[in-house]
């Protein structure tokens, strides 16, 4: 079919699956914050990785140039996505791979199930994959009588503990070593009862536990970090060797990949395989990267499938202010530096994608009105640490603000009666529309001072503004505004000639501020 779009844009089709906050973020965050063990574990882990990342990033003289290239490559991919997909498909198929397309989570799950059933197997091994978490594949397979074994250490910990992932790179980041030891002792058959909580011993226990599964598995399921359009190559980036086991040993390999994971060319990998490892685990390079292109005779799986997943990605793409969220390479640097994520952990976000990127990606994929996802764009102080850390320069704070706007618009559309906020905004619109109006309002400042009383603080504001004073006081406003003060001090006749005063010392502007009643202004 033609890629030239001629008609009116159709309404976006949103994604389903594990993409929703099921309760408002503030409520979920309150609960998670009460878990002091969780906060200690997360604080330790996020700080460890932060310093590692900074150290390896600082080693490269061209890190910023690499980010610029990475950002532009992804923008170029999205702008030409139809052509990229067709090129990738042609190359992957020419080498014996089979491509399936899934509109949403349900369709992807059905395709994967049918492919497994064709092999006659009832057990599969899995490489950690965000796409299959997003579509809830493990649960779906279980309902169909197929057991899916997670093989990544952190995924294994989460699966054994019947828990949910809380981080996209290290799903068990919320567990410390002694908790992992307890889970292994409780859930791992034939585990050494003398297992200690040394990470090396825990890793060894996982090796023993999974070895036989790897060596006998007939079907594996994976995600993919990158798909290269000009060659049809797929890439999986990992550390433990569980990925290599799954990608090499079984007869059948089924990969689930979002349509946005493409890069235009093989040579673009030179950028992303520098950006990704340093941003995610803070390593110069991850221990293992596997690349395969369709089927290679005699080497690896001979039955190679790829499920190309939409599930709301096209809806995100349709948002011209939000679409760069699709540039995400799932490194997790943004959550590791986020002051909110560091304290609440990943479960508070509800969606498979937590942290700053999840707070934009989830509502973009599901629509702002889906369940409680409209609370996610507010799960940020807009400090911008995520933007600084992002290897592909996604302006997360800007998209958060954009989505807050979407939320406000959708709320307003729901309720016809103007809200307090509407009145306040209308008031602000009036006040800020001219200097004269603002001057008039500023004459009311002494009233605020009066309200603050002798202790010079206002403890409770009325109406919805009361939310602001719930956890802090507001200092008494000064008795005059800066504009009033300026007008008084800078009457044309007393104008200061620049150069006469030493800045910051005995300048008239400075002395005037001291010893007068305006000194309270410094508090405001």
């Amino acid at each position: 079919m033609s890629n030239t779009f001629l008609g009116m844009p159709s309404l976006p089709v949103f994604g389903r699956g594990n993409l929703n906050a099921t309760e408002p973020f503030p409520q979920a965050a309150h609960r998670e914050l009460a878990n002091t063990q969780l906060r200690a574990n997360l604080g330790h882990a996020t700080h460890t990785i932060r310093y590692k990342r900074l150290k390896v990033v600082a080693e490269l003289p061209d890190w910023e140039q690499m980010r610029d290239a990475g950002s532009a490559i992804k923008d170029a991919t999205m702008a030409n996505l139809p052509a990229m997909l067709e090129q990738f498909e042609a190359n992957f198929t020419a080498r014996g791979g089979i491509i399936h397309w899934a509109r949403d989570a349900q369709e992807a799950n059905e395709i994967v199930t049918a492919l497994i059933q064709e092999t006659g197997e009832t057990e599969v091994v899995k490489v950690k994959s965000m796409a299959t978490q997003e579509i809830g594949l493990n649960e779906y397979l279980e309902d169909q009588g197929i057991a899916a074994y997670e093989t990544d250490l952190a995924e294994l910990i989460v699966q054994l503990d019947h828990d949910k992932p809380s981080h996209i790179l290290v799903p068990a980041i919320h567990k410390n070593r002694s908790q992992v030891r307890e889970i292994f002792l409780r859930e791992m058959p034939a585990v050494d009862p003398n297992l200690t909580d040394e990470p090396a011993r825990l890793a060894e226990a996982a090796r023993k536990h999974l070895r036989k599964k790897f060596l006998s598995a007939k079907v594996a399921i994976s995600g993919a970090n990158f798909g290269l359009a000009d060659t049809g190559t797929l890439t999986v980036v990992e550390s433990e060797g569980n990925g290599r086991m799954c990608l090499t040993l079984p007869e059948t390999l089924i990969t689930v990949m979002g349509i946005e994971k493409l890069l235009p060319s093989w040579s673009d990998l030179e950028v992303f395989m520098q950006l990704l490892p340093r941003s995610s685990t803070g390593e110069r390079m991850n221990p293992y990267t596997s690349l395969w292109t369709g089927v290679t005779e005699g080497d690896g799986p001979q039955n190679v499938h790829l499920v190309m997943l939409d599930n709301g990605r096209t809806a995100a793409l349709a948002d011209e202010y939000g679409r760069t969220a699709l540039n995400c390479i799932r490194c997790s640097a943004c959550m590791n530096v986020c002051p909110v994520y560091e304290r609440t952990g990943g479960h508070a976000y509800g969606s498979t994608y937590p942290g700053p990127i999840g707070a934009i990606l989830s509502p973009l994929m599901t629509g702002i009105k889906s369940e409680e996802n409209n609370s996610l764009p507010y799960a940020s102080s807009l400090c911008g640490a995520c933007f600084d850390a992002c290897p592909v320069k996604i302006n997360i704070p800007e998209i958060l603000v954009h989505l807050r706007g979407e939320d406000v618009d959708s709320q307003r559309a729901k309720v016809k009666v103007p809200s307090q906020m509407d009145f306040m905004m209308k008031g602000a619109e009036w006040a800020f529309s001219s200097g004269a109006k603002l001057n008039l309002l500023e004459k009311g400042l002494p009233l605020g001072k009066l309200a603050a009383g002798r202790d010079k603080v206002i403890k409770k504001l009325p109406g919805i503004a009361g939310g602001w004073t719930q956890s802090r006081d507001i200092p008494a406003p000064p008795s005059q505004s800066f504009r009033q003060w300026w007008a008084k001090e800078h009457k044309p006749s007393t104008a200061v000639v620049p150069g006469n005063a030493v800045p910051g010392h005995a300048g008239p502007g400075n002395t005037a501020g001291h010893g007068t009643e305006n000194s309270e202004g410094e508090q405001a």
Binding site: W101, L153, L215, G241, L291, R323
Partner: protein, 211 residues
């Protein structure tokens, strides 16, 4: 409408504003500034940082070094295209391991590979800045499975195949070959984000760099 057509139509609709395709700025380093000695030194440093065992050996002593490392092993696998002279000191000597050759004519099974002590392969290229060794399935490196299942991997790397930065390696590799990039022995950072070596892949990585 098929799912494919549906998704393509959704994409076309999503891109109705026809976003422009930016020119990709490639100001990052794409070639080396280092001498061969510096690259070698850097690679050794990086690999040791990953807890790999590194040996820098004159090419003519490859076989002797290999024999030294494999003394005490009972059996190893090599790909059929591994240079014969690298194995010359291993054959038929007392105390030397039995050598299984994996070839298109005789492919070892998973069970056979699992019973072996080690695998010996060559490498396609290596990146010194990141400490990465690339295997591309050539005849001297073999199928991906043989360098994965045995618990010890010994790589012989020609020093002339070391480049400094990743873009140089990408230019040397062919995308469509099945590749494994290896940066140290298998490891995990999944518990408290502290790296520990030794999970599912080979737990010992020995690298002999041939000068």
């Amino acid at each position: 409408m098929s799912a494919r057509e549906d998704i393509m139509a959704r994409i076309a609709s999503a891109l109705h504003d026809a976003p422009e395709t930016p020119v990709v700025p490639r100001e990052y380093r794409r070639s080396s500034n280092m001498s061969a000695e510096q690259r070698l030194e850097q690679l050794v440093d990086r690999l040791q940082d990953y807890k790999a065992n590194v040996f820098v050996t004159p090419a003519e002593e490859a076989s002797a070094k290999l024999a030294e490392l494999l003394a005490g092993s009972t059996s190893i696998v090599v790909p059929h295209g591994l240079p014969q002279d690298w194995l010359s000191k291993l054959t038929d000597d007392a105390g030397m391991p039995a050598i299984e050759v994996d070839s298109p004519e005789r492919r070892l099974t998973v069970a056979e590979l699992d019973a072996l002590d080690a695998v010996v392969t060559a490498a396609a290229t290596a990146v010194s800045e990141t400490g990465t060794i690339m295997l591309d399935g050539s005849a001297d490196q073999g199928r991906r499975i043989i360098s994965l299942v045995p618990d010890r991997h010994i790589v012989l790397l020609r020093a002339s195949d070391i480049v400094e930065v990743l873009p140089e390696a990408i230019a040397r590799l062919e995308a469509t070959r099945p590749q494994t990039w290896i940066s140290g022995p298998s490891a995990t950072s999944d518990i408290e984000l502290e790296r520990v070596e030794g999970v599912h892949g080979p737990r010992t990585l020995d690298v002999i760099i041939l000068t």
